[in-house]
């Protein structure tokens, strides 16, 4: 598998899964995912949003606190609690936004697998219901894009279809 291709799938009604290969050993990727000085460098929001507060207590039961701030003064906070920490293989943590734009809390599982110096990261987020999962997906939607066969082909790939000639 080559690096740089992000796959988004919906393995069940309540899940969103993302898989991405990084050209770095697992220990480094794990640090980048769990240490504030690194998280602040990449876990940014859309354009104009910076991760200004980032606190991570990396142990089971430990708290996570993120606050993103926009140039215009808006802010958005998220908190969570680690349920499992297996350095450098796996973390399981809850996540909930301060000003909830979806109900309940989500549970995010990061799994890191290293092969030949590269790391495959899978992030699986499970929401309380299908309706909430769909709302999260909708939030990333960009309207007004032309319907095309390419996009259809992409969807079929994303949905895990293996095309068999009938």
């Amino acid at each position: 598998m080559s690096t740089g291709t992000l796959k988004v799938t919906t393995p069940t009604d309540r899940d969103i899964a993302m898989t991405r290969v990084f050209d770095a050993p697992r220990a480094l990727v794990f640090d980048a995912l769990t240490r504030p000085e690194y998280l602040k460098r990449w876990l940014l929001g859309p354009d104009g949003w910076a991760l200004t507060t980032c606190e991570v207590d990396l142990r089971p039961g430990g708290a996570i606190r993120y606050v993103w701030e926009h140039r215009d003064g808006r802010s958005m906070g998220m908190r969570g609690v680690y349920r499992e920490v297996v350095t450098p293989e796996r973390t399981v943590a809850t996540e909930q936004f301060d000003d909830p734009w979806y109900e309940g809390e989500a549970v995010a599982t990061n799994t890191l697998i290293e092969a030949r110096g590269q790391t495959t990261l899978t992030m699986l987020v499970r929401y309380d219901s299908k309706a909430i999962r769909d709302a999260v997906l909708k939030s990333g939607m960009e309207r007004g894009v032309e319907v095309s066969c390419d996009r259809l082909a992409d969807l079929l790939k994303t949905s895990g279809v293996v095309l068999r000639k009938a």
């Binding site: 988004v8 069940t12 969103i16 940014l44 769909d134 990333g140 996009r151 068999r164």
Partner: protein
């Protein structure tokens, strides 16, 4: 949870691997129920049930050919779901591209540190007595 959102119906219809495979087949051209049933170890009534779900979600339609009534793919609802996934994917891809750059930097820092550890210190010999 009952919902009237047509996009929810699309997601429910797509949650089944057989139905996704049927759509993948129809993406290559219209097909009759018999043709659609052929690659699966399933009875025609079982396939017909899946087709009904897909039809209710607006993902397929029947064409006018009265003899075979072939099914046809309706791209609009699929395109909307694709847009969701694609928008979400792009958002995370931008984050991960920044993570790529960070990891390159971390790798070169790690390499530089291990080089310093391996290399004999120029001053160490001079201080030995």
């Amino acid at each position: 949870m009952p919902s009237t959102d047509p996009l929810d119906a699309t997601f429910a219809a797509l949650a089944d691997p057989t139905r996704r495979a049927i759509l993948a087949r129809l993406a290559t051209g219209d097909a009759s129920v018999t043709e659609l049933a052929a690659p699966f170890e399933m009875s025609q009534p079982a396939i017909s049930k899946h087709l009904k779900v897909l039809e209710r979600a607006g993902l397929i339609s029947r064409s006018r050919d009265a003899q075979r009534r072939p099914r046809r793919l309706e791209p609009q609802p699929l395109a909307e779901v694709t847009e969701w996934l694609e928008g979400y994917r792009r958002f995370w891809e931008r984050r991960y591209e920044r993570l790529d750059a960070l990891l390159e930097e971390m790798k070169s820092t790690t390499r530089a540190k291990s080089r310093r550890r391996r290399a004999p210190r120029p001053s160490s010999k001079g201080t030995q007595r």
